[in-house]
Symmetry: C2
Subunit: 159 residues, 2 copies
């Protein structure tokens, strides 16, 4: 497992935007990102989970901290059309990724990553994975603690 992980990446330039209680019906996600694309706002992570009640769910995405104000304005001006409950944003987050090409299963890599963060008392706010990565959003103030702890957990040498 340890040999699979080739590096730890992090970025503390991200801001998190969460639309709480968007309607869970076709067309809603498209309506959110259309205006952001037109305004040339760079969206990085997009994370949405299943809705529990089949009616509404939350949708989180990240933008560069410099784009947060524009993003919030663009979304809030269409609050009526989009029909979400509330918009919550937080620019004090950091994205931490564990990278491993050929990661056949995320379970082992994820478990080590999550366990390492837990041992440092760092709460995981958002999780997203790709074929070669496990990424989390944590509070920005823990960036260095997290990166150092993960470096040693995966025996990647000292920073």
């Amino acid at each position: 497992e340890k040999e699979l992980v080739s590096g730890i990446a992090y970025s503390s330039d991200e801001a998190k935007v969460t639309l709480v209680k968007v309607l869970d019906k076709p067309g809603v996600a498209a309506a959110i990102f259309g205006p952001l694309a037109e305004a040339n706002i760079n969206v990085d992570m997009i994370v949405q989970n299943v809705s529990e009640d089949g009616k509404a769910t939350d949708l989180t995405f990240t933008v560069a901290q410099n784009d947060l104000e524009r993003t919030v304005a663009k979304i809030e001006e269409r609050h009526q059309d989009l029909g979400y409950g509330t918009l919550v944003h937080d620019s004090k987050v950091a994205k931490i990724s564990v990278i491993g090409v050929g990661m056949r299963s995320h379970a082992g890599v994820a478990q080590t990553m999550f366990q390492t963060l837990a041992e440092k008392g760092i709460n995981i706010q958002v999780i997203s994975t790709s074929e070669i990565k496990v990424s989390v959003l944590i509070e920005e103030q823990y960036t260095e603690l997290a990166v150092r702890a993960l470096h040693s957990a995966y025996a990647l040498g000292t920073l």
Copy 2:
């Protein structure tokens, strides 16, 4: 935007497992994936959004359909330790991904993808992104409809 997308990938061999209302405190995510890693269960997507109330949130992950029974058993036997509300699973899902290397922003690619699915009346259950991809989970029965519609939306030629 269209030239950025190089392909559409899909897999209907996945089953979705959602733990509803897991406690939102350090160590919970690690406790979920440890036993799955030990049992050599391949976990593909892991998606978790922020908790609204700071107390609990939902966590979804996917495994191969063949591993669903084992996975559910492994999690349910530790229901007390993990302290989640309920476990929901569904093997009638498909993962559809739009792939584009050099996708600077997900907003444009995502908007086209989400809009195309909406026009076909296909509801998006889960969303997750990586540097080169936007992936969604939809109902398995719409796999072919989705893949064909996305091929023509990104002018990738007919299937």
